[in-house]
Symmetry: C2
């Protein structure tokens, strides 16, 4: 069977008219003789409306019932899509997670799918039906509805693609694909035709909102080709695939930037083993994500400076933790809001020397000061003043030949 998994996000099924368009998209794949498995999110706004209700009921609403509550959103969307396909003459039905079933493990609100019973869906596909599967949910060992936190319906789609050995998993959303950089920041941004899982992972982690890193990682591990495209315009999207599939002579694939970062510097920290741990342990316990970390070389062999970045939302909490924790010793605490991280990403940099230099030189030419640097195999990130982000993006976009 030539199977394709189509996943529609909340905005793609956001109105009755859009659901009709979704049915037409599915219809096109049917015409091309594909067996289509559809995964749908809740209509945009529905989930938030339900969450609002739960907050009205309790500021500590049960996680178990939360899953029952919000999972109704996908149920609604799936029945409407199936109903529309029936209307235009297709054999189709909604498949609620418990009917398949899709089995999850882990805590409520944040479960993960660990297996799917393929039997019924396979039979249904063989009989010519188009199953519309509720995304974002499953049932656990207690037969309770459980939602999968991160990744949501994308994760459902990728797991289905894996279990049914789909040729491709297509994520329909409200953007046309993955861009070289945020199109809101420069009109030079252009759609990327193909991107490797690894690059996409870095892009996603660094703020590209197209897909959750966890879903990309899942696709990577299972070698599932993902296409991200818009359900509103008929244009090719971005193919996320393995490196060897990509013929790309660009060194850098994309540039991303994050905002609302803050820099924390502890001056005069004892330079001995265990000091960094003593600082990061209480932060981690309080769910504060520490991002870039730099420790200077100790000048006198006794004391050093430690710098790291966090989300500005966590700044107050971080300050309190550091100042109140007696195990953390330092001479001076410096806090700086309004910094931003800008990153260039590309598998090409592995084989191309001098990328770091070119990045630094480009920023220097624009008189942009680099405050912290952090690198990975396929990524270089620098911390700069927030006000210089746009200028830096445009300059780097040009430097690495992403403009055309």
């Amino acid at each position: 069977m030539k199977i394709v998994v189509l996943k529609f996000g909340g905005t793609s099924v956001g109105t009755i008219e859009k659901i009709k368009t979704v049915a037409e998209i599915i219809n096109e794949y049917k015409r091309k003789k594909f067996k289509v498995i559809v995964v749908s999110s809740a209509m945009s706004g529905v989930t938030n409306e339900l969450i609002k209700k739960s907050k009205g009921i309790s500021d500590n609403f049960s996680d178990v019932e939360y899953d029952v509550l919000v999972s109704s959103g996908e149920q609604i969307a799936c029945s409407l899509i199936a109903g529309r396909l029936n209307h235009i003459g297709h054999k189709s039905r909604s498949w609620l997670a418990w009917q398949i079933p899709i089995f999850t493990k882990g805590v409520h609100k944040n479960s993960r799918i660990y297996t799917i019973n393929k039997k019924k869906i396979l039979k249904y596909l063989e009989d010519g039906g188009t199953p519309i599967v509720t995304g974002f949910q499953g049932i656990n060992e207690h037969e309770r509805v459980s939602t999968i936190g991160r990744g949501g319906s994308d994760a459902t789609a990728i797991v289905l693609a894996k279990f049914f050995k789909a040729q491709r998993c297509i994520i329909y959303t409200d953007v046309e694909g993955v861009y070289t950089t945020d199109p809101n920041k420069t009109n030079k941004a252009r759609k990327i035709k193909e991107i490797s899982y690894e690059e996409m992972l870095e892009m996603a982690s660094l703020g590209a909102k197209v897909m959750q890193p966890v879903s990309i990682q899942d696709a990577r591990l299972n070698r599932i080709n993902i296409e991200v495209k818009s359900s509103f315009v008929k244009k090719p999207g971005t193919l996320i695939t393995k490196r060897s599939n990509i013929i790309n002579n660009k060194i850098i694939t994309g540039i991303s930037s994050t905002q609302n970062d803050s820099k924390v510097s502890l001056i005069g920290v004892k330079d001995k083993p265990g000091v960094a741990a003593s600082i990061f342990k209480p932060l981690s316990k309080n769910s504060i994500n520490v991002d870039m970390v730099v420790q200077n070389i100790s000048a006198n062999g006794k004391e050093t400076d430690l710098t790291f970045t966090i989300k500005t939302d966590d700044l107050k909490k971080t300050k309190k933790i550091i100042e109140s924790n007696k195990n953390i010793r330092f001479k001076k605490l410096l806090l700086k809001k309004d910094v931003a991280k800008i990153s260039i990403i590309g598998v090409g940099m592995i084989t191309t020397p001098g990328v770091t230099f070119r990045m630094f030189q480009t920023l220097a030419n624009k008189k942009i000061n680099i405050q912290v640097i952090s690198t990975s195999e396929i990524k270089i990130s620098v911390l700069i003043d927030k006000r210089s982000v746009k200028k830096a993006l445009i300059a780097l976009h040009k430097e690495f030949k992403l403009d055309n």
Copy 2:
């Protein structure tokens, strides 16, 4: 176990604040050491909103998917009630029909519950939990969600009361109980303390909107005491029970009236067997409900007049059917809109002679002309001019001592 089934209608769970009140009501029964099974409808407005969506998708929306769609409404309400009970410290959880399961038979949108697997709920009750069950739905032999048409969540509550041998089934709604007559028509209307199943059946069939006849009949067959009361005010409601439980010295329990009736008279119909059938068969086939039927005694042994009432909405259709059907022969067709049926109901009339006379005399005194009469063991209905309904109601309410 001292079990009570509490059913909350759409208006009773219509807002977050009202759901909090519902949790308090449940809490009171828990304090009185009852094991409580809760059945909830969808929050008022939710079901209509979903139906509107289905109509946007197709003017012929699949019945199967319709059931998937609308059943989400009860799922939402149940999770919120359970969440609120958790919030105030109770062990409680939502039970979706498929989790119990509640099994249905029959066509989609109009199934009926035929059995319930008691095991899990019973265990949950024994463990001190308060199950919140989705009303109005079950699953059928194909493991599809199916909704029960008439009676809806009331029917679910009564079936649960029957299966779990509940001491009482309490229907919480937005009225305080069953009234002697429509309080909108006379301020003399008063709440009935106790009413027999049979009387309630007549009242419901005749327009009292408190409960669907099918649910009352179900309760009657299973001898389940039902209390209808308001979730908004703390007052006793109306108990619906078997005749022998009622100490009621009133002859008449209630008076009801219907509106939007029309009268159809066929003059000069052949007086021979099969004629009435030839008229009512095509009407029945077209789902036209024929209510009161009177056939005059044939004066000449050859011809007679036939009169019946229908809903005014069906008048045009009825006219067309009668005039176009060549099997129906008559001399003249008379149609009359703006008639109304007024009925007095009470088991007391079985043992009390002269009730019919008193009714007719009362109307005669008010110069109200009776057009058609129809009686049952515990009910007398008359057809009168629509404009006289209020006057007739008030006079009869006084005559049969329902005013005080």
